[in-house]
Point group: C2
Chain length 347, copies 2
């Protein structure tokens, strides 16, 4: 396991490795994003991919929440869809409309339009950004790298855009299981190489996001998602601490824990105690504050954040939201969440 | 408990009451809908509310799946948003775009624009449709009446349109709990009167749909949803068998069972055995085939449907999808699901 000895705050790393810590570490999914006026200012000047692909901009955005909100980890500013893009697909990210992949994968012929060999090499700009961020952070907090899980990427690559249910993507898998597995394996291969590139560039830990894992029943989650996540975790877990977050896939927490990941993300629809029971006590849990609850008055945020901390108990817990922070959350409310975690001590 | 002695097929009623049956009954959520060419023909001629509000049309549409697919129950063709409409809100249902409520509830003043007293009287066209359907059915299968749960209706009434996360609706509740509870109680009062009207008109059983219950954490589900569902179930459960379906709210199955409902709907993201463990063995479970799985080849539909039936075991189970049938499902696939259930006998 590689550890950056220059880290002044390594709470999150120690928590993931099951070591004792003075307090619970905290960060927020999408913490570098649209609720921050400083981010909006850059968004108004540069397109999404300009921000992603210009290391200086990605670096500046990544550091904003560390400086402004005081979180215990930075997370690389990027998007999970840079992987399909690197594999040769056109990806558009239109503000307020979500992603659009104008030529989605529907047939075997479509698979021939994309490639896995060498695709991770197209993501050099990410590795550059990571090197720059690590330098700028200068050990203040660890840097989290990430990638989308193959199933979630397939959802976008087949459906071509966001969806509540991703029926077309699911229909594709049920009608063409062979093609689906071919595509999932291609994504997996690129993702492993990509994450190894992030580690080589300096990422201190990694998170795999399976945002749409919860759309599958337990058996389909194993078939179309978990077996690929398992390959990814196996390839990186001995190098840096690794978190798997499959939103909504509560019924497979035990199986996800068995991948050897160091942490599991959970959403607010499962209670801490229940999640612990499913996941077992040898893994760190990350979550699970309802992002919409940050719209409540500050005093209530403080109370409900403390209630969450008590529910998880001391150790083996990283405080986070159960999903990305909402764009309309006041910065003071985000700060109230972070400050409450940082001030809290278990009795 | 009122029972229609004229029913030739009362499998679903007996299953809900925990009585023995020859086989598992089956119906499909949204079975009267867009996958049926006969429905599309009427949709192309009449607007949504013409279809809803003209008893002859609602009757014809309600009977289509009984005749064409051979399900064991008819469900009233209507929409949960007729209740906000009856309370004085403008509701638009635009094909392929979903619902739009152009003047959503945001303030106390907005609440004064709507009313509960007498609102159920505006739904006389539903009672007329039920009377006509019961006559046309002539006891072939039972008729299911329904309403939306107060929480799900609040989601639309506050957000003003569909949403993946209903953040505005949740924010409204967290910022204005008093207003939210006032609105939820108004909806509850109307819903109870409305469902009693459906019973008086001849509905053999009722289902309460909480499509967005799964967006809340367990405590918020109790606060903003379940306490109102409890009132509704208490008011009707001694008159006709009652099913509660709160999609995604698996962690409150035990509490929902304790309302005294006869059945609980479950989605495909929970396994039969786990649901049974949470709900206890004194209640009927309904579900939980993944609607997207109906896009698979017929042979696979047959195999996975049988696997579902075996997982639930004999008795106390109504076969259904875990959510509404998708518009692009071939009728032959829907029929394969229904026929497989009807042919299956537990060993």
């Amino acid at each position: 396991m590689r550890r950056d000895n220059n880290l002044k705050n390594d709470l999150i790393i120690r928590t993931l490795l099951g070591e004792q810590t003075e307090r619970t570490p905290v960060w927020m999914m999408r913490q570098a994003g649209r609720y921050l006026p400083e981010y909006i200012a850059l968004r108004n000047k540069y397109s999404f991919f300009e921000r992603c692909q210009t290391p200086e901009l990605a670096c500046e955005i990544t550091l904003q929440p560390v400086d402004i909100v005081g979180v215990d980890a930075a997370i690389l500013f990027s998007d999970i869809l840079v992987v399909p893009q690197a594999m040769g697909m056109e990806v558009q990210l239109i503000e307020k409309q979500g992603p659009l992949l104008p030529e989605p994968i529907k047939t075997a012929a479509d698979l021939n339009r994309i490639y896995s060999a060498g695709a991770a090499g197209n993501l050099e700009y990410v590795y550059d950004a990571i090197r720059m961020i690590k330098k700028e952070l200068d050990g203040r907090v660890p840097l989290i790298g990430f990638a989308g899980a193959p199933w979630t990427l397939l959802c976008y690559m087949v459906q071509g855009k966001g969806s509540k249910t991703f029926d077309e993507a699911k229909g594709f898998c049920y009608q063409n299981p062979k093609l689906a597995h071919q595509l999932l394996q291609m994504i997996t291969d690129v993702t492993i190489e990509y994450l190894k590139g992030q580690i080589a560039a300096g990422a201190d830990m990694l998170q795999v996001f399976d945002s749409w894992g919860g759309l599958l029943n337990k058996q389909d989650f194993e078939t179309f998602s978990l077996q690929y996540i398992r390959q990814i975790v196996a390839a990186i877990k001995d190098e840096v601490p690794t978190i798997v977050f499959a939103k909504g896939a509560w019924s497979s927490l035990g199986e996800m824990a068995a991948t050897g990941a160091h942490g599991l993300g959970i959403d607010w629809c499962i209670e801490a105690q229940q999640a612990r029971q499913f996941a077992g006590d040898k893994i760190t849990l990350q979550g699970n504050y309802d992002p919409a609850r940050l719209l409540a008055p500050v005093e209530e945020i403080q109370q409900t954040t403390e209630a969450m901390l008590r529910a998880f108990g001391p150790g083996r817990h990283i405080a986070n939201l159960g999903h990305g922070i909402l764009p309309n959350v006041p910065v003071a409310h985000a700060k109230a969440f972070v400050d409450t975690v940082k001030a809290f001590r278990h009795a």
